[in-house]
Subunit: 324 residues, 2 copies
Amino acid sequence: MPETRLDIDRIRAARRVIDPVFLNSPLYRCEALEPALGCAVNIKLETANPVRSFKGRGTELVASLLADDGQGAVVCASAGNLGQALAWSGRGRGLDVTVVASRHAPAAKLDRIRALDARLELVDGDFDMARERAAAIARRDGVRLVEDSLDIETCEGAATIGLELADAVPSFDAVLIALGGGAMATGVGHVLKTLAPGVEVICVQPLGAPAMTYSWHRRRVVTTDSTDTIADGVAGRCPIPDVLADLLLVADDAVLVREESIIAGMRMLLGHAGLVAEPSAALGIAAILEDRARFAGRRVATIVCGGNVDMDAYLRWVDAAPGT
Amino acid sequence: MPETRLDIDRIRAARRVIDPVFLNSPLYRCEALEPALGCAVNIKLETANPVRSFKGRGTELVASLLADDGQGAVVCASAGNLGQALAWSGRGRGLDVTVVASRHAPAAKLDRIRALDARLELVDGDFDMARERAAAIARRDGVRLVEDSLDIETCEGAATIGLELADAVPSFDAVLIALGGGAMATGVGHVLKTLAPGVEVICVQPLGAPAMTYSWHRRRVVTTDSTDTIADGVAGRCPIPDVLADLLLVADDAVLVREESIIAGMRMLLGHAGLVAEPSAALGIAAILEDRARFAGRRVATIVCGGNVDMDAYLRWVDAAPGT
């Protein structure tokens, strides 16, 4: 069992706190994808829930603890999905939720955050600037700050996906996980290394937002000056040291993929699987496309972790050559 | 408990026979759809499985019984989804599967039937002609014929969706069910009328394929000469008397919707819910769109029963005005 900050018993217990609407998401082999990919492809689908991403698993834990603790308010920075999920979980528990996001985040994500009764504050900058602003609000107002990937609940909530993957019979040879701040990668990775240590844990990040992958390979935090990717959900510049330390213990590899592979992945998920994936959710398919030889004939699972897209942009991406 | 051909204990037992990959499909409230529809909309999603429709629930029962009975072959007529599901379930049990379909069925459905190792025979005609041809093959070859909606397993398999809907707390005011041959409508309707009799069971069919709806309203079988709808999954002309008799006992209403409402439904499911629905799977949303007053403020569930589309046609349908 890897010596991360995560705990398998707490992760198991988390299943009793998380609204069941987020648990036991579909997991199925999608043979229609396989001729083009050359391996057995299993989809773990995290988009068929009220917030269309896996983030509800973590925010259910966060909001539940805050409510038990008598807290009335919470603030987070978000690329869009965490904020939407925290708004959903907080609303159900009477919490006053503030979300700080980039003005450049997909409008669909920002609209849903507002629709779920959260206060939305926009910054003229990227996700890491939103993080700074959220921290400042928390200090100013004396409100609890939720930090994605650093707060253990965000990792252990996401880790419940790992429990569901580890239950699969037969087991997988490799699991592909989108890598951003690292909550999902460390969470799912911790569970797999604990319960199914033979499964290769592969993190996937865009070449245009490579900070955590560089950090993993160099075994120390590497920051970048900017990001340039359509995968808004994983576009961070400043890895968190504690999260990197955990990731070093549970990931077998971290790879980078090109933008055109991400688009091809979205197109394949739509055309062959009938699934709307946001760019971050297509990273796993992109990784297979870029290294078919590595996965040839193996049993692979990929987490389709979110489906919140601006539909105009999405249709432009996939429409160029649908179904290919 | 309605006196149909169906039996609630057999339906409960069916859950132990059906591959779990088809059971406990996502059921969640989709608030993003609600401003446009004016009611609380709950999605029962039957597309996130290996055959992208609810039909696997029934074919698992069929194939399991055939295998237990030592049968080696089976033939069915299909609009596309039943054939794909029977091919999947039959392959897993070593059955030789023949599917008869219309040459005009969506290519995506026909391709998947072939890919799942079934023998595909095409007829120059519609679904009801495929039914005649499948019956002739069964007689000629002495092979078991599976008749969708007539064979009780196809109804009781679909009925397991009803068990999952009846478990929902709080319950729904109305459930909208696509109506074609009637397997899903009688199956889900039987369970709801047994376990949650207060729930209004509303069947929805296209104006361009109204035979079963006409039959339900006149309480006798009414056939039509032709069909004219994009909802290929429910385009039948010749209702089956036994199925109509059951439907009369479990449906509270049967309504017809226009093609443009079906397209608007698909567009809304994509734009607001991120879901790829085939035309038949958008019938419930279409029914709400055509009669907002009837559903205003009520808790409604609709079964998104399939997602097998030809992507070119689908993108033409939804692309006209995405997100509206």
